[in-house]
Amino acid sequence: MNALATVWLIAEREVRQRLRSKLFVGTTVVLAVVLTVLASLPAFLGAFAPSDGRDVPSDDDERSALRVGVLGTLTDDEVASLEAAFGPIEQVPVADAVAAEEVLQDGQEGLAFVVEPGERVLVAPGGNLLQVGSAAAARAAEALALERVFPGEAERIGEVLARPSLPVVQIGDTDPAEAAARLVVANVGVVFLFAVLIMYASMIINGVIEEKGSRVVELLVEAVPVRRLMTGKLLGLGLVGLAQTLVLFGPPLAVLVLTAGELIPSAVGGLALAITGWFIVGYALYAVIAAGLGSLVSRPEEAQAVLTPANVLMVAGYLVGFAAINAPTSRLAVIASFVPFSAPYAMLARQALASPAWWEVALAAGSTLATAAVLTVVAARIYEGGILRVGARVKLREAWSRR
C-alpha cells in the first residue's frame, strides 16, 4: 500500500468515526437548524418586504425633529413634503457640496442626510448608521419627487409616497448596504474562524490522546510510518471540519439567498469563499501544532493544559482580528495580516473591509502555509518522539530527541 493510500485510509477512518458519533452529528444538525431558522426569521416577520427605504416614521409628536442638512434653500412645499414623510424636520444650513461631504462623514452634526434642492439627496458612507441614512435618504427623495407631482399637496404626498425620482447619491465609493454586509461578514467570519479552529484543535488533540492512551498506536506504528499516521488524522479531521462548515452555514445562506437574495450584496459570496479559504489555511497551521502537542500527553485531562500555547496563539490572533475590523487600514491590521498566526483573522477582516490587493492576500496565505509546512516537520518529529511514550507528560526536549 503506497503512502497516499495509507494516508487516505487513516483519514477515511477519522471521517467515519466522527460521523458515527451521535453527539457530534446531533449537535451539528441542531446548530444548523437553529441557524437556518434564524436566517429565515426576517422573511417570516416580513422584515425584508417593505424595507427599501419606506419604513414609516413614528407619529409621536414628542420625538425630536429630524436634522436635515440643506444646500441652498428649501421651498415651503419641499419642507411640507419632507415633513409629510418624516414628521417635523430641523433644517441645518450647509455651505456647499464639499462641506456637505465633510459634515456627513464625521457625523458630528447628527444629520440624517443633506438635501440639495432639485438635485440630489446625499448620505454618509460606511458605519452602523448607514441603513438609517440610506432609508431616510430614499424616503426624502421620494417625498421631494412627489412634491413636484403634487405641488402644495403635502397631505396627499404623505398618503401616497410614490416612487422616488431623485437619485440617491452616496458620498465615497462604498454602497451602504454592502458596507454593512461586509461589516457583518467580517465579524461573523472572525468569530467563526476562532470557534472552529479552537474546536478542531481540541478534537485533534483528543484523537491523538485516544490513540496514545488506548495504546492502539503501538499496533498502528508497527504498520504505518508515524508521519503518515499524523497526516491522515489531520486530513480526515480537516475534511470533517469542512463538511461541518458546509452543513452549518449552507442551509442558512441558501435561505437568505432565496428570501432576500436581492438585498445580499454580491461581495458576500466572495467573502464566504474567503472564510472557507482561511479556515483551510488556519487549520493547516493550528492542526499540526495541536497534533505535535497532543503526542506529549496520555490522558484527556491533560489535553487543555498541553494545548495552552496553541490556544494563546489562537486567542491572540482572534483579538488582533477584531482590532483589524475596527481599523482595517491601520498599520496593525496590515502587519497582522502577514503574520502567520494572526493572518487568517486579520486578512479576512481586511478583505471584508479594506480591499487589499490580490498579491497581499496571496502573500498572507503563502506565509501562513509556509509556516504550517515548517511546523509540520517540527510537529511530526515531536509526534514521532512522543507518541509511543505512555505515562507521565513527555518533555518537548525528550520528544524532540526521540529517545
Binding site: T6, Q17, R215, E218, A223, V390
Partner: protein
Amino acid sequence: MLHLDGLERRFGSVIALAGLDLTIEPGELCGFVGPNGAGKTTAMRCAVGISEPDAGQVRWRGGPIDLDVRRRIGYMPEERGLYPKMRVHEQLVYLARLHGLARRAAEDGARRWIDRLGLAERRDSAVEELSLGNQQRVQLAAALVHDPELLVLDEPFSGLDPLAVDVMSDVLRERADAGVAVVFSSHQLDLVEDLCRTVAVVSSGRVVLRGPVRELKRAGERRLRLETTGGVRWTERLPAGVTIRGRRGNEVTVSLAPGVEPGSVLDLVRGDGSLVGVRLEEPRLSELFRDALEAGVEA
C-alpha cells in the same frame, strides 16, 4: 528467522537490555519468561521495530526490520491497544488494510478470525462494550488478521479464563505448525512448559537460559522424592552432587546433579529403615527458571 543480536537499551539510569541475544526460527513456539523488569517487553518492542535499541541489531531473515517486514509481524502489546469505540469487524479490517491487505483479503481475514475466536455474535459491537476476555480475543485477532510470518505477543494469557487459555494455546500451536515464528512472554511457567517447544529465560536484560524445554528439563537436576519409615538420619550422610530440596516429616526431596545415580541414595535410605515410596522426577520449568535466575545473580 528472527535475530536479536546484542541488544542494549537504557532508560535514564535503568538498564533494560544488557546485550540480549535471541534467535527464533520459523515454526518455533518460544516462551519468553523472566521476572518483572527483566527486559522482556523492551526486547519485544525492539523486535517489532517500535523501539530502537541503543546498541545491537534486530534482523528478520537476514535483513533489517523495515516497514515491509513490520507489516508481516503480528504484535500484541503488553497494555492492550484497540480503538474503544470502533466495532470489532471494522477495526480488524482497518488494521489488516494498514498492514497492506487489499479490502477483500482484509474482510476475509477479519471474518475468519472472528469465527475462529468465537466472536461472531459480537462482530458489530464496539470494543469497549466487550468483556475483558473478549477484548483479549479481539486483540489476538488483531495480531493475526493479516496472516503474519512472525508473532510477537506480550503476555497474551494474562487475565484469560481457562477456556480462553485453551483457545489461545490452540491458536498459537496451530500458527507455529503452519510455519510462523511465535514468541510470547508469560509469567505462567506451567503453561509455557506445557505449550512451548522452546523457552528463553531473561534476567537483568540478558538471556540466561535458552533451549528446547524437553532438553533443558532432561539436562537439569533430577528430583528424587523419597518416603521412609526409619527417620531421616540418612540425610546427614548424602554423597556429593545430592542436595536436599524439601522435607516434610519422613518425606524428603533431593536433587541429583547430572551423573549421580539414584541407586546410591536409595542404598543410603535402606540402611536406615524401609522405603515406603520413591519417585524420580525431571525438574519443572519453574525450578529451572529459579535456578537460572539464581545462577544469573551469582554470576
